[in-house]
Amino acid sequence: MTNTLSFRRRAVNNVMLSLTAVFTVLVVGSLFVILGYLAYNGWHFLNWDFFTKLPTPVGEPGGGMANAIVGSAKMLLVATMIGVPFGFLGGVYLSEFGGEHGLFPFLVRYTTDLLNGVPSIVIGIFAWTVLVRPRHHYSAWAGGIALGIMMVPIALRSTEEFLQGVPNSMREGAMALGASKAWTIFTVVIPAAMKGIISGMMLDLARVAGETAPLLFTALSSRYWSKGWDEPTASLPVMIFNYAVSPYDDWHQQAWAAGFVLLALVLLVNIIARGVLSRATYK
């Protein structure tokens, strides 16, 4: 009796364990295949020209994506200038002033989570409607603003979470010394959570760096250096999209290289952010 029971238990245990192992290997394996394939092809077609030269006309070999690298950097800068202040201050409000229960904080949290779930192409259409159509031309501004809007929800919630991670005893300690609430927040609470907040922002930036859809109808793309911020501007994700769907073999190769560069950048930001986070005071 006891023997059969324990046999059944062992059998079920082994089957379940094998199932979880098989599925884990499938998931991780396919991830590594994708990354490996991208790295292999991308590395293969990557050369110095990629970073320094403009795209060549169709049929002419060589060339690079220097304009797309600079364009991506410009748009990410604009996105940071929008996503970081809105996300940071909103997060400070939710964590330190809003409280757990009120109606307004609830609405803010709810709409932020909702905004986070809005498909990126819808954000792109929104930016097009507000920023591109009335002015009748595409621009790096519009692309950067679209990416900035995408950054806000995660920047806000991650700031809130890291501030919430600061023990209440810190706030009480400062206020018991006669610090006002605002002074406490800016001299004790935010510094204590700063590393976490920064790494959250970096991961957020890395995430929007690979977004294509919001840029398709805002920054469009370009095969030349764009003068200033108010013209159609190339970006790495849109270049990858355009090159990958083209019928030319050498464009495919450049798309691989661009994908690899984008992946490497995101990976680099991730590593730096996690390094910052691992030394954070309060996670």
């Binding site: 706030r171 009480e172 300690g173 018991a176 010394l177 006669g178 510094p191 204590a192 005071t281």
Partner: protein
């Protein structure tokens, strides 16, 4: 500040209360007086009509079983209880005769410092922890801040141990050192009253002995109110002791009297370990 008027108004409101006007003057021995303090967490009443006098430059211990309201009472004295929402205080708390509810809350807290149960140093350097209060007080001159930091660390009997590593993180100190750092941080603001909420409960006996020694020295400059679970500690350090039970102050007297000859049966039961 017109003390006499304040008293007169109070007597009109509540004729059963008769406090001699001179008792509210600063030169009297009573530094902190509470009258009929009630405290509510939402609808739950945690304190029932606490009347207690804290004498200048003495240590007053508050003892009682867990959840009896002694920490809550302590937290009303510097109004740090207000940081929790849905709470309410009734009654009067007088610091040198001034109603603390009418004082600016930040200046009240500079006069009434607090040390918490768990050491809570800020994640900053040792120096910056102690300098924090001085900087709040509007001091910017580096020399003056350095002097205050050193003086406070000396007063908290920590200076010798940390003088070579003032720029290191306060989080690297031991628990006992952290607690003395928190005391130094509170002293840097030069408070008249220091509230101590079970300051030794997270510490080992040696660190506890050091803190008790320190409290003894601090009496010269500071009035102290200490919540403690440790009755020996109350007996060793405090001149006056109050016994709390279920949100009421059952008995308040000289420590000797409370421990040797309590007048209430509940006090005696608690002291002799029959419950709690």
């Amino acid at each position: 500040m017109n003390e006499v008027d304040g008293t007169a108004v109070r007597m009109v409101q509540d004729p059963t209360q008769t406090i001699p006007a001179e008792a509210t003057k600063p030169e009297m021995k009573v530094q902190l007086r509470t009258e009929g303090v009630n405290f509510y967490y939402g609808k739950y009443q945690a304190l029932h009509g606490i009347d207690l006098d804290v004498y200048r430059h003495k240590i007053t211990a508050l003892i009682g079983p867990s959840g009896c309201g002694k920490s809550t009472f302590l937290r009303t004295l510097n109004r740090i209880c207000e940081t929790i929402s849905h709470t309410r205080v009734e009654g009067k708390i007088l610091l040198d005769g001034e109603d603390v509810m009418e004082l600016d809350v930040t200046s009240l807290r500079r006069r009434v410092g607090m040390v918490f149960q768990r050491p809570n140093p800020f994640p900053k350097s040792i120096f910056d922890n102690v300098a924090y209060g001085a900087r709040i007080n509007g001091l910017h001159r580096q020399k003056r801040i350095r002097d205050i930091v050193e003086e406070s660390l000396v007063r908290a009997a920590l200076f010798e141990e940390v003088k070579d590593k003032l720029q290191q993180s306060a989080l690297a100190l031991s628990g006992g050192q952290q607690q003395r750092l928190c005391i130094a941080r509170a002293l840097a603001v030069n408070p008249e009253v220091l509230l101590l909420d079970e300051p030794c409960s997270a510490l080992d006996p040696i660190a506890t002995a050091k803190i008790e020694e320190l409290l003894f020295v601090l009496k010269d400059t500071c009035t102290m109110v200490m919540v403690t679970h440790n009755m020996q500690q109350a007996a060793r350090t405090a001149e006056y002791t109050g016994f709390f039970l279920l949100g009421r102050l059952i008995e308040f007297d000289k420590t000797d009297t409370i421990f040797r000859n309590p007048s209430k049966k509940e006090t005696e039961d608690y002291i002799t370990g029959r419950f709690g």
